[in-house]
């Protein structure tokens, strides 16, 4: 029996044996008796003799085998001596039976493995269809679209194509720079508090650009206040903003 080594972490120094139980099993088979009636004592002797022989030949022996040898020597002594009374540990007979069970178990699995491998194996003994045509699953597309979506798509396209060309008039009063420019004209001429809204150009007090104009104008007032050219006042949160010319500082 030549057995390939399974890997570097298993030191298998007894060529052909897959561990101590396997070695025991092989020795047991040499007794040519039913494993159910195996003599564990005899088996232990054979195992110990086998290990002794290996040692005599100065072959390296893996630790697993030595542990088993020690255990069998212990079991043998227990089997030869009467069990100590009131000992809670398993009796020698129980230990022997447990070992016999292990032997039977491993043997059963070795046989099972052999019968599995003896079955007609796919790709070795039996073959499937070499060129299966396959069972196609064809996706049957089912499109989802409502009349509303269809009409909406047409409407959107129509609107896009026929919508008027939008001309946006150039705004005279949108950027901060524009607002500054606009406000500066009033600086120095506003001795009394006046509402900020009053400084917005007339044509922009309503309409879509009102907010951006207001924001730009407000930002401009802050800039001018920082420069001391304006004073700002707000009596309550969200209340109207008032402004007047800065104290002392005269316009250029």
């Amino acid at each position: 029996m030549s057995e390939q080594r399974d890997g570097p972490d298993l030191v298998l120094d007894l060529d052909g044996y897959e561990g101590p139980i396997d070695l025991l099993l092989t020795l047991a088979r040499e007794q040519k008796v039913d494993l159910a009636r195996i003599s564990i004592l005899q088996l232990a002797d054979q195992y110990l003799a086998f290990i002794a022989e290996q040692r005599r030949l100065q072959l390296e022996i893996a630790a697993d085998y030595l542990v088993m040898a020690a255990w069998l020597a212990y079991l043998k002594s227990r089997l030869l001596l009467p069990d100590p009374p009131e000992d809670e540990a398993p009796s020698a007979v129980e230990l022997a039976e447990a070992l016999a069970h292990r032997l039977r178990l491993l043997e059963a699995m070795q046989r099972a493995g052999a019968s599995l491998m003896a079955r007609p194996l796919l790709g070795r003994d039996v073959f499937g269809r070499g060129a299966p045509e396959g069972l196609a699953t064809v996706d049957q597309a089912f499109f989802e679209l409502s009349l509303y979506e269809l009409l909406k798509a047409y409407g959107d396209g129509h609107s896009r194509r026929h919508g008027q060309v939008l001309t946006i008039l150039p705004s005279a009063y949108r950027s901060l720079a524009d607002a500054m420019e606009h406000l500066r004209r009033f600086v120095g001429r506003v001795p009394d508090w006046r509402e900020l809204m009053a400084f917005l150009p007339d044509d922009l007090r309503g309409g879509p650009l009102r907010k951006s104009t207001l924001a730009a104008t407000f930002a401009a007032t802050l800039e001018l206040a920082k420069a001391g050219q304006l004073e700002l006042r707000q009596d309550r949160a969200f209340g109207p903003l008032y402004l007047r010319s800065g104290g002392g500082a005269q316009p250029e």
Binding site: R129, L135, T137, E144, G155
Partner: protein, 195 residues
């Protein structure tokens, strides 16, 4: 059953490709009457769900051609059409018969290759005749399934432009800066991006 015939059957079944007669002769032994065996096997399978056929210089089993449809199983998959496809469908519905070039003119953008294919797949449009104009382009129309799907008695039931306007589907609305910009972006979009 003849042992040689069994082996021939198994060989042909297991082979990943059609087996040439030379190969079969080798496997079956020199003294086998291969032609007779093949004939016998082909006859045995003639009426079955699987047939023995000569293909690509060899022999192989194939499922019977009349079962091809039954071997496929269909699975309903819900799909959605792209925006371009929906609009194209709408244009075909409103302007039929209409050519591809006309659809492109109306949409103001090229029609990506898959768009009409997809609509054909939906079963809602079909080509019908050719326009008697240079290049004789295909005319596109909607199908009866189109009417069935959208629950329309006839194409006359499609709301007209004025009705669309009234129902708010044709809402040009006040032109505000943002919308005007987004509309312009779309037109500039390359046709390939539509699908």
């Amino acid at each position: 059953m003849n042992e040689r015939l069994r082996l021939l059957e198994a060989l042909l079944f297991a082979a990943p490709e059609p087996l040439a007669e030379a190969e079969l002769a080798l496997r079956l032994g020199e003294d086998a009457d291969l032609a007779a065996l093949l004939r016998e096997l082909a006859e045995a399978y003639a009426e079955r769900g699987v047939n023995l056929v000569a293909l690509a210089g060899g022999w192989t089993f194939r499922t019977a051609p009349d079962l091809a449809m039954a071997l496929k199983s269909e699975r309903d998959v819900t799909r959605r059409l792209s925006r371009a496809a929906v609009e194209t469908l709408a244009i075909i519905a409103y302007h039929q018969p209409v050519t591809r070039a006309e659809i492109e003119t109306i949409r103001g953008v090229g029609l990506a290759r898959g768009t009409l294919d997809r609509l054909l797949e939906s079963g809602w449009v079909q080509p019908k005749g050719r326009r008697e104009s240079p290049g004789r382009p295909l005319n596109w129309v909607t199908t009866p399934q189109f009417l069935v799907h959208f629950g329309l008695e006839s194409l006359k039931e499609l709301p007209g432009v004025e009705e669309l306007r009234q129902s708010g589907l044709l809402d040009i609305g006040p032109a505000v800066l943002g919308e005007a910009l987004s509309a312009r972006d779309e037109d500039a979009e390359p046709a390939e991006d539509e699908e």
